[in-house]
């Protein structure tokens, strides 16, 4: 029987993988994909608790999260495009003008 702890573990693994990807990769698009992975880890948590509590709030919340993720993806990719047009590169380390 797959219980709530297994689901939560899956969410945590997804979140951890996304985090590692976010911290270690240099390509802006891959970094962005990593954030999406972290996002899905959170969504799994929401669905898992909805099932555990026999309550639909978590499910509804998951749907909202998906919509927000889609919207955010549209925005973020647009910004990545703009950045690419400025420097012809996707390397995150090239954007460091805020250094103190």
């Amino acid at each position: 029987m797959i219980g709530v702890s297994e689901h939560i573990l899956l969410g945590a693994v997804l979140f951890g993988l996304g985090l590692i990807g976010f911290l270690s990769r240099r390509n802006l698009i891959v970094i962005f994909l990593s954030t999406e992975v972290m996002f899905q880890g959170v969504v799994i948590n929401a669905v898992a608790f909805a099932r555990y509590h026999r309550h639909l709030d978590g499910q509804a919340f998951a749907l909202f999260l998906l919509v927000i993720a889609a919207v955010e993806a549209g925005l973020a990719l647009g910004m990545v495009m703009l950045l690419y047009r400025q420097k012809q590169t996707l390397d995150a380390e090239d954007w460091s003008s805020m250094r103190g």
Binding site: L19, F22, L23, I31, A92, E93, W95, S96, S97, M98, R99, G100
Partner: protein
Amino acid sequence: MNMPLDTIKYLGITILLAPLAGAVLAGALGPKILRGRTHWATILGVAAAFVASIMLFQTVRTAPVTARSAQVPIYEWISSASGADIAVEFLVDPLTSIMLLVVTGIALLVVIYSRDYMRHHDHPEPGYERFFAYLGLFVFSMCALVLGGNFILLYLGWEAVGLCSYLLIGFYYGKPAASAAAKKAFLVNRVGDFGFGLGIFLIYVTFGSLEYGPVFDMAARGITATGEALSSERITAIALLLFCGACGKSAQLPLHVWLPDAMEGPSPVSALIHAATMVTAGIYMIARCGAIFAVSPVAMNVVAAVGALTALFAATIALVQTDMKRILAYSTISQLGYMVLGAGVYAADSAVFHLFTHAFFKALLFLGAGSVMHAMGGIIDVRHFSGLRRLLPATFLTFVIGSLALAGFPMLSGFFSKDEIIHHALAAHPILGGMGLLTALLTAFYTFRMVFLAFFGPQRVPEGVHPHESGSWMLVPLFILSIGAIGAGYFGTGVTHKAFHHFLEPVFANTFASRNPHHAASHAAEAAHASFWADYGLMLISGTLAILGILAAYLIYVAQPWLAGLAKATWPAAHRVLWKKYYVDEAYQAGIVDPLRQSGRVCVGLDDYFIDGLVWIVTAVPRGLGYALRFVQSGLLQGYALSMVAGLAVILLWVFW
């Protein structure tokens, strides 16, 4: 029957607002629309004020003698819980109406004169509109000073005329000497006004009111607001503090230094503000506050002594100066000294009479000097020209009339008024009266020294100057003033039964006249020795002195010119002291200006190093912290993410450990 208050109210408002409206029009429309016609705005405004002044004078004159004073409230200005409300109100009495006639009448002539004076080859000078706007503002301020019915309005007008004086002395602000002179006039007047302000505070503390009526009433009865007896020290202090203000505004010792420098302003300004009207504000104030001055014999003696000393002091300086306008400036200081002396010996009516005649002949002389200056291309030093009498015949004629009046030549206006003051001074303080007589001799001498140097001798003009007589805009005011210089004196003589003095009598009846300690004695003496000599002896002496002075000047500067050089060579030290004006400016420079400047430098040093240092230390703390922590801001996206994760991990450990 009392005077019609409504008529007085509206005439007073017209006198105030017409010149102000002219000034506003000149200032607002002048630069863009009126341009070369700006003078009309001010001429019409001042002319309206003059007509209203004549009507006001008639209203006062036709009222019964006992009802010639009216306090006219206009509106409540400042009200306070303590009950000491300040209203905008007029005090109209014979003194006010005469002052208004002098101010608006002379101002009208000067504004008309300025129309041509402020032009070159019929093109308005730069700042033409500004000039007329300031003149209108000055007439407004001076009328406010004279019309005001309480000390606050007096102070308001007092400061406003000072401001206009400052603006007009510095009219040619591009010229360093002019802007320095403007600042000097303003600052020296501040010294006097500081005392004046303190005097007004002391009046308020003592009498609990600032309205003329109650204050003068209490001062005359010798009580304070609480009904206690007024101590003589207190009233003397008030009078002397007020006199400080008069010293500043009327250029008496030791605050006379600003007036000669004020000649940097255009000549019409010198004529109107620095000869005929503003500088007489001090005399007006003493006359107005007669109830305060007359009850303090100490203050009266100080006033008389300062006046006599100033008269003699300035006359000696005028003996050797070469700038015509400066000679006239020292002469003005000297004549103001006469007026102050007159007020100081309880003869305020004579002082105001001299103010009246002096306004005509001194304005005439300044405008005449302006006409010479106009013809000489801006040069006014008598060493650079001579023999102008054929080149500028009309200016010469009017200038000589003005000079005769100033010198006290018999039967001209200055003769009568000056003689009266000397007469009263001799009765009260023979020494001060003697100084007055000596000054009369010196006055005749220096005045005609100037006339002879400028208009007689070989015809000589500065190089490159093509002299031309002034146009009628300038000559007509000169002729009108000449008539005044000849005839104004007769208002105070037997010919008109001393109309001037009888008109002023109600104003001073309860103050100077009834408090005069010398009055009874001199009247008794006059009654005992009613003879030709008692009546006309002094007139003969002072007339002779005037003629002697003129003849001496003729001898030294026309008949035997080598005598002037001889005198200079014989007493070089005396000449140098007089040329340097007794080193008063130098003493102020070394004693006051330089120490203040030094202490200013010390303050700048303190500010730059001590205060700024403290501020630097305060800011150094956050700045140092910032330097220490700036490495945290790597600017790398993933660096921030890592620190967020690390921070989150620390919090989680903290919570769940």
